[in-house]
Amino acid sequence: MPMRSEPVTVNVGPQHPSTHGVFRLRITFDGEVILDAEPVFGYLHRGSEKLAEERTYTQVITLTDRLDYVASMTNNQAYVLACEKLAGVQPPERGMYLRVIAAELQRIASHLMATGFLLNDLGAFATPLMYCFRERERILDLFEMLCGARITLSYMRVGGVFQDAPEEFWPALRIFLGEMPHYIDEYERLLSENEILVTRTKGVSVLTVDQALNGSVTGPVLRATGFPWDLRKVDPYEVYGRVKFDVPLGRAGDNYDRFKIRIDEMRQSLRIVEQCVEQIEPGPVRADVPALVRPPVGDAYSRIEGPKGELGFYLVSDGSVAPYRFKIRSPSFINLTVLRDMLIGWKLADMIVTLGSIDINMGEVDR
């Protein structure tokens, strides 16, 4: 006798332990297999783009902190670069180096979070997560030295950074740079050879290069498919042209590659920071920009390689102190376009891992 069965639709989220915030997926299951998936966003929509229209260019920096709240530095950087492009400001050398150091530290912190939560989604009971947080705390300590805050940093200003790093920052950074590679080795020993993890992630939710490019996917998710596209390399902004680093690439574009590539990128970021520390020279850190920036009428789109992908800001100026239009090209949001294609046919447990491997941040998705 054939058994009657019918698909079950489950709302995964917005209150689910591992949807990385208030994300909701409406998923149709056949048993454990996913038949259809539809992402639903907007639970954290704060209207940043509208809010920015009535704030001055400096005040908007505080809004960018809250987009991808685990990578505030890179948001700041992308935004001030757009402002500088719009206003035609050239920041001083030391300011640019400080920005790059801060942004690369932030990239490590963000990747640590991504790795930790990905493994938490795999069910490793918070152990790797806690290890990742341990190192992230040290980066946050460095940020506290730099700018007095740990998460919502507001470190960068149009034309540089707000203030030079304190004396004690440099020795602390050197200690961190010396110790971090051992910790990265530890994660690799803990997990990347682990047979359970390999079985769970290899070959799962494969994304091809064509799919990724067509879906405007950028960042580690694109590079995991084996496509060498890193804006720091192909379009060097700030001082990335003067430092040597490799772009780690994946091969298959599966969950394992997306996990591995972040660990490799952490090593490269450390390399960049090391070189920046060697190259940085004393000097001013902030160009002479008035407190109320009034860029000329026009528009500018500036993008950087954020930890989650191409983070772009499109600014339109009408000559006043506030941007006429402030548009965020958020990588988390656009990377989710391909989520449905990656999920269908896989199982409930894979869904969580795939979502974790894309590494979204709801602050940035919903804005």
């Binding site: 007095g148 050879e193 682990n194 407190a291």
Partner: protein, 190 residues
Amino acid sequence: MYGLGILNGFMVTLKNFIRRPFTISYPEQRAPQHPRFRGEEFTWYEERCTGCASCAKFCPLGIIRIVTHPSQETPAEGDSYAIDVFDIDIGRCMFCGLCVEACPYDALFMGSGFEEAKYRRQDLVISVERLRTAEKRPSTWYRPQLEAQNYDPRRGEPMTWQGAGREPWPYHLPLRPTTEEMTTDREAKP
């Protein structure tokens, strides 16, 4: 060999089992805090404040409310305005520090504490009285002159208004008449 990866993982967790925990028990132990830390209660030096309300203008959220009146009948150059109201609603504050950055006279500083939890939202508004009477332990954030002195708000002495300034500003004089006297004066006048 199969299974070695798992064994490696076991060794790593065992190693961390033997290590000291990296967390601390908060109220008894405290993490070291950098002097630049942007804390909750603001430090304000009335002697340095001219009542220009730059801080209120630069606040992205508009949570600083300042009401002033001229301190003299015919204010001469350099006379500051007397502050009636200086409310900072830290319930909505995001501690970006733009107000401190905006202050041209180094009168407003970020605080260094972070234990300001209250039961009601209205208790979170810092009033001018509290700003006046609070112990002055300013954060060195955006104040290079304090960093040059190696001032640490968590350990050092409370900072006087003369010590906190960037330069000896000729117009900054200690307020000889206290605020009570001034208000009584004004009320008496008409």
